[in-house]
Symmetry: C2
Subunit: 394 residues, 2 copies
């Protein structure tokens, strides 16, 4: 038995202006509007975080304790988040003409989506720092996850949901005893509405990339993928992108794993997938812009992609360009088709956002951007059980 691991968290640094801040107090956005990211003393971390110690640890988010922000060991717990399987996608690979396709099945998390890892870490850490009343606008899964971890830690959670959100999400929030608010408009409107509530000054906001720690939880998706592939990245990662914490987290995973001596080879080419009716990052990427403009009237049935803008647009666009990646838009009808392929060819029941990665891979293969022998990982960010699927009869 080794000594219990210790978090090597050092401080926070703004991703835009590099301003440093104390990580042991509750922090939100940098005054410049940039996102604070957690920085670790990786020289210390690598003394106890290595292949040998990892082999003895449980699967899931908390095995990365040294490079997670939670200080007290007794608070590194939750609902068994992370540790999701990396599946060989042979059935879908045959359909798409990709012989080395992998599926990272994030729908196997608590609550059925990849929002679990980020919320598990954000709640554990911000509760550790003294917060007890949380709020966020959500397209659905983030609100469900925040509500579940709020129940787990016994703290208050307030979630504003665009009125178009399917009822399953609203029921999930209510079941966990969180307070849900239906708001006309999109997630940006719902966020503004929540921030304007008179009680809002009592709430700690968990909105995407407006506090430092959801990204730390998301980062573990990258750490886990690299470990599952034998300490290397695949050639390409296809990722459905709303707020974009996942890409920010994976870029961070890349940098930290290299400094820890746990990663060799090039980074993956990142592919951002958005919906035709809401594609601010795709538009900015195509136009060669450094920042993305908010999408005026976001329209898609994939709630998680109905996000008009990202706080980390610059970080994401930079990651696409540095890695030789790209950005793709797919239609709702493409997502529907792709849900069908996944269910019939592979036996996996996907949420529309997750299916968007399948549709994007099909498009990129057809256009020649992907080659048959490229090693491709699709991030299947959520299972489909909260989204009614159009019934088809055989």
């Amino acid at each position: 038995m080794s000594a219990p691991p210790v978090s090597a968290l050092r401080n926070l640094a703004c991703a835009r202006c590099s301003r440093e801040e104390d990580a042991d107090r509750l922090q939100t956005l940098c005054p410049c509007g940039g996102t604070y990211l957690a920085r670790y003393d990786l020289e210390t971390a690598r003394r106890t975080l290595h292949r040998t110690s990892l082999a003895e640890r449980e699967p899931g988010v908390w095995r990365w304790a040294e490079i997670l922000p939670v200080r007290e060991a007794s608070r590194r717990r939750g609902l068994g988040e992370g540790g999701t399987p990396l599946l060989r996608g042979e059935g879908l690979g045959r359909r798409l003409g990709l012989s080395r396709l992998w599926l990272k099945d994030e729908g196997r998390n608590p609550g059925g989506s990849f929002k679990a890892q980020g919320m598990a870490v954000a709640l554990a850490r911000n509760v550790e720092l003294g917060a007890s009343r949380f709020a966020l606008p959500s397209a659905g899964n983030a609100g469900g996850a925040a509500s579940a971890y709020g129940a787990y830690w016994g703290v208050d959670v307030h979630v504003s949901l665009p009125r178009a959100t399917p009822d399953a999400f609203r029921r999930e929030v209510a079941a966990h005893n969180a307070r849900g608010y239906d708001v006309d408009g999109d997630i940006a409107t719902a966020g503004a509405w929540l921030a304007a509530r008179p009680e809002a000054h009592n709430w700690f906001f968990l909105s995407t990339l407006k506090e430092p720690y959801r990204a730390e939880g998301k980062k573990t998706m990258g750490l886990e993928l690299v470990e599952q592939l034998g300490w290397r990245w695949p050639s390409v990662i296809v990722y459905p992108t709303g707020g974009g914490t996942g890409i920010v987290g994976m870029v961070k995973a890349d940098a930290e794993l290299r400094e820890l001596g746990l990663l060799e080879g090039p980074p993956p080419r990142f592919v951002v997938v958005q919906a035709e009716g809401c594609a601010p990052l795709v538009k900015a990427f195509e136009e060669g812009a450094v920042r993305a403009s908010p999408w005026p009237d976001p329209q898609t049935e994939a709630n998680g992609l109905r996000v008009p803008g990202s706080v980390a647009d610059d970080l994401i666009l930079d990651a696409l360009r540095r890695t030789g990646g790209t950005a793709v838009r797919v239609s709702d009808s493409d997502m529907d088709d792709a849900r069908g392929w996944a269910a019939r060819d592979e036996g996996i029941y996907l949420a529309p956002e997750a299916a968007a990665t399948v549709a994007a891979a099909e498009r990129l293969k057809r256009d020649g951007w992907l080659h048959a022998e490229d090693e491709v990982v699709l991030f299947l960010t959520g299972n489909g059980f909260k989204y009614p699927m159009k019934e088809r009869r055989r």
Copy 2:
């Protein structure tokens, strides 16, 4: 690297009359009406199946290859079934007054329920033996799982569902390109209807305990629990029981792990949980009967418990009595309350069948059958996303 493991499957033996059969041909029920169970050469298995070899294997069902029936290594795969977390139930433990409560979260399987493990093994093995057209009646989750693995293996699946089954299950079956049939009545009626179809002679039936291999998949729930607890059982296992494959599987896990030298200490006391409106095993247990009579008019909103009879009633009743266990009935309204407790006290969103174990533990604690310091594992057999939960507003 060790050599790839080999299945030590020897033959099949009827659990009722001990008749032996060839395991390398498709088999259904014994002529006596009993269930065939797989037998292994455990002396051979223990040479390669031990703590050291297990430490190097991936989590999930297939790590137990030597004591699974699938012979070809290339067929030991699926959707990442099993390997579900064993959670400390501190929140629910406080509510129930149980200081050593564990939650085995089987809702984290592919498709969101514990039906995955059984169907993964049954499909892999029966396809290996040449079957290509499958059929079963289902209360919902088993049909969904059979359909998903049917899609995975590219074989036909026919599922009859009682008309009262929630739509989410019907959509799941259709999405996986299986053929669903709505039948008036309960799961027994649905089974009889399916067996009477003219095409039925072409179908291999996967009905609970009518073929040998679903129980082998279910068995891994027990193997996994024992491994997670450090090679011992808890004092008590609370299990929601429809057809009862799970208990049969866990009894088998107990016997095999002992012969493999992987288990010490007493077996757990098994607690069967059924619904007030459908409690054939509870009634038989209370009456001291060796067999259970079919429940005349099964009524409960927990589909998985709306099962009027079990093929393995004698095996289950015997397990309860030998281990000093018991059988409990809970009402639908108790299950609703327990879903609320799990969602609010623990952050877990449960299916009614899973919540039935929480309600049963509450009852047994109140009645003095469970003591505060008993180590209790609740099998949370499915997540709640396919079952609309009554919305409550705070």
